[in-house]
Amino acid sequence: MQEIEKIVNGKDLFKRPEYQDVLANKKQFESSMLAINPAKVAEVQAWTESWDYREKNLAREAITVNPAKACQPLGAVMVALGFEGTMPYVHGSHGCVAYFRSYFTRHFKEPTPCVSDSMTEDAAVFGGLVNMKEGLKNCAAVYKPKMIAVSTTCMAEVIGDDLMAFIIAAKEEDGGEYLPAEYPIPFAHTPSFVGSHITGYDNMMHGIMSQLTEGQQGEKKQRINIIPGFETYIGSLRSVKTIVEAFGTDYIMLGDHSDQWDMPAGQYEMFQGGTKLDDARDCINSSATISLQKYATSKTMKMVEKRWKHAGGFSNPVGLKGTDEFVMKLSELTGTEVPQKLKVERGRLVDAMQDSYPYMHGKKFAIWGDPDFLIGAVSFLLEMGAEPTHVLCHNAPKGWEEEMRAMLDTSPAKDSLNVWAEKDLWHMRSLLYTEPVDFMIGNSYGKELMRDTGTPLIYIGFPIFDRHHLHRYSISGYDGALNLLTWITNKVLDQLDEDTKGIATTDYFFDLIR
């Protein structure tokens, strides 16, 4: 029973003897093996740690277990929330939207507005035109967004709804009451059964950029567009802007959700910040576009380079080398020397790397996440002399595996470094048991791996549900690399203390100064 002076929740309540009795008593009715035959559980558990299991596990062709990717419309919702006053609108069933909103909200601890047009069985039979007509009108009337960005769920894609025709029809029927002809409603088809959330990001970004700029082409301006990609670190967006601003150049960040998902307390406004729609319309007239995530923007950048003939290209400012390249690209595009401010920042980062390197050097890491994140983060690990033993990318697009392999081949430890494209986190479990590492870097889904294999987890990635405020920091630019360095080094030091804290046994190594 609870004690009034110390009321405890489930964490400690169920450890009490009366509850331990309840749980033990329940076992007589259970069919789980632990209740009937704990020895069998131990035997199978041991087998799941073996090479034999690993081979069978890696041979899987059909079932995915504990994935490290999500579906297209999630990325589309992120893009929409990076534009001024824009409501993400998902054409399809509303369960999906409940999921996208929960998923982002759990990560950012911030509200995530997004509507659906709630298609049900009749829409599955007759198509979702009626839903679109009503949905766009209601959304415009109630939330008064400046723009509505339409993407699709797999339901709408399977029945083949035609977004462009539907949007035109919705505007025509409304007759301008809520949806004037010029009301911006860009759209993108985002089928969940193709690619992953980064594909959806690319499709929606392409949709917004291509549709808002229609008929806007004019005089080229000395201005740089920056496309951040599926970036979940709010601080990264700010670091990138600070770097660009240091060059004194005019720029537009396309899809800037840094204010939307980082609202100050005090009052609630549904939409905050974001790329100005006028800027988005004019982005075609910039002289250059830099995408910070190659694999999350391949379609968009193809348009920008081939049709818009923009200079720029890709640059991934995660890690020292990545940031150097980004800075040099800006220097080249602006014809400006690297500003003193950035030189000092770089110097400080390198100084910090030289202070901490003994703790990362030679340490083995397993790491997973989105393809572009991995390119940057693995580059940083290599810059520190660490060994990325297992680099796993579930949503690896074409070309990623080769690029990652080439990077790993620059390491003296290259023969023991492995790339795992299109594998999931149950594969990772086998890898960790059979070829163990010192640390893991990844998202919250790694915590079951941490529990099972005992490998310490450094939380870097998306989604992170069970650690607070990490997303507010930057992992990009020199300051972002310093954050990576700090998180990783201090986790190594925490673990060193953990391993040496045995009183009168190992604590000779429990050093005060490290």
Binding site: Y19, V22, H94, Y99, K109, P111, S116, M132, V194
Partner: protein
């Protein structure tokens, strides 16, 4: 404020809110909003609201889908079975381990609740069908997770649209692996909310667990006159455990939990119990009714939120059994009373008179009202994401005063109601949480217990009281205004 003026204020709020909608939407939403009055006999449902209808498109409803109702609610917590999210990758990922269905077991070896098994449909599966892939998925599961006691196939939207026959695949494979395989056609576009998913899942329990062939031995459990099953408790934060302990203390034997911390065997044992105890009526009344009709097992609804309702429920349950149980029931009530008195003495002075607005799912919009009342708090608005008429009828019996009732409330409406009615606490889900916290309003998630709980039973009530106090009386809300903005 007198009851008339409160009611008038509430009605005015509804009228005002409807003005923002285009005509058709306003007409629709008007029917889902009302003012519930406990003494008004003319009201058919609480506030005379309409429910379980299609959501108005484009308004930011908080509802989920049939897949969420089946995989996320009913089937997902059954711990020794593997639940395949059948279709594209997203649904299983977004719903992974989000509901806090606690269980005991070695995850990945003999229990699987917090894992995500997906058939990860690609374009070719849409074009050519996914039945072959499903068969292969089942083979691989059987190879790598041999201690599973069965598999369910939780259909995502495309399955029903491309004409796959998961029933046929399940039948063939079940024979091959000699385990139960349950095909569930809970595609997200079916019905108007999670609710139809509950119903579909209940029906598959009937067809595949009760009427199916199970490779599981139940003969070692001999039925007794005191056997009961807990139905509709998903063991969120351990709720079913803090309920079970009370039932056991009064001499009953809890043979099964549906479906928090449940196993296949417990479900198979249930048709032999003497009484089914139904907590979440909405999600599991179907299977309870079926067991009544088919096996003659009566069922009663109970409410383990807050001491007043808990005591009422314990006595109601005991009345079904003999005097020995009734005597022990009184002993249980007496045993916990001093602790409950102390909890109320400690927290009621800190919470007395505070007002709450609720918006939750299955049973909580009405079941938790009593728990708040026990702490001296008043619920001034409540509503359900996916209720039916029978839920709103039951809600009438729980409200104490004029209460705003909002069915399938959307982001705009809830925000507007809160601004107009100014509660001291908002209690709803994760999607709404930060909207209200930004406004400086104390907030508790009432789906997941905000990562605390359990809230059921006596021990749970102490935690509930502590958590509500923590939310309402935290110093953090006073920081929203900067010192240079303070008046005077």
């Amino acid at each position: 404020m007198g009851p008339e003026s409160l009611e008038a204020k509430q009605k005015a709020a509804i009228e005002e809110i409807l003005k923002a909608y285009p005509e058709k939407a306003a007409k629709n939403r008007e029917k889902h909003l009302g003012v519930g009055s406990p003494n008004d006999e003319t009201q058919k449902t609480c506030g005379d609201v309409r429910s379980n209808k299609k959501t108005v498109p484009g308004v930011m409803s908080q509802r989920g889908c049939a897949y969420a109702g089946s995989k996320g609610v009913v089937w997902g917590p059954v711990k020794d079975m593997i639940h395949i999210s059948h279709g594209p990758i997203g649904c299983g990922q977004y719903s992974r381990a989000g509901r806090r269905n606690y269980y005991i077991g070695v995850t990945g070896v003999d229990t699987f609740v917090t894992m995500n098994f997906s058939s990860d449909f690609q374009e070719n599966n849409i074009v050519f069908g996914g039945d072959k892939k499903l068969g292969k998925c089942i083979d691989e599961i059987e190879l790598l997770f041999p201690l599973n006691n069965g598999i369910t196939v939780q259909s995502e939207c495309p399955i029903g649209l491309i004409g796959d026959d998961i029933g046929a695949v399940a039948k063939v494979k079940a024979k091959e692996i000699d385990k139960v395989i349950v095909p569930v056609n809970c595609e997200g576009f079916r019905g108007v909310s999670q609710s139809l998913g509950h119903h579909i899942a209940n029906d598959t329990v009937r067809d595949y667990i009760f009427d199916g062939k199970l490779n599981i031995d139940t003969s070692d459990v001999t039925a007794t006159d005191y056997d009961v099953a807990i139905i509709g408790d998903y063991n969120i934060g351990g709720d079913a455990w803090s309920s079970r302990i009370l039932l056991e203390e009064m001499g009953l034997r809890v043979v099964a939990q549906w479906s928090g911390d449940a196993t296949l065997k417990e479900m198979a044992l249930t048709p032999k119990v003497k009484l089914n105890l139904l907590h979440c009526y909405r999600s599991m009344n179907y299977i309870s009714r079926h067991m009544e009709k088919e096996y003659g097992i009566p069922w009663i609804e109970y409410n383990f939120f807050g001491p007043s309702q808990t005591i009422k429920s314990l006595r109601k349950i005991a009345a079904f059994f003999d005097e020995s149980v009734q005597k022990k029931c009184e002993e249980v009530i007496a045993k916990y009373q001093p602790m409950i008195d102390a909890v109320i003495a400690k927290y009621k002075p800190r919470l007395d008179g505070k007002t709450v607005m609720l918006f939750v799912g299955g049973l909580r919009p009405r079941h938790v009202i009593g728990a708040y009342e026990d702490l001296g708090m008043e619920v001034i608005g409540t509503g359900y994401e996916f209720a039916h008429d029978d839920d709103y009828k039951r809600t009438k019996e729980e409200i104490f005063r004029s209460t705003v009732i909002y069915d399938d409330v959307n982001e705009y409406e809830l925000e507007a109601f809160v601004k107009k009615l100014q509660p001291d606490l908002v209690a709803s889900g994760i999607k709404e949480k930060y909207v209200f916290q930004k406004m400086g309003l104390p907030y508790r998630q009432m789906h997941s217990w905000d990562y605390s709980g359990p809230y059921h039973g006596y021990d749970g009530f102490a935690i509930f009281a502590q958590d509500m106090d923590l939310a309402i009386n935290s110093p953090v809300w006073a920081h929203s205004k900067a010192p240079w903005e303070q008046e005077g």
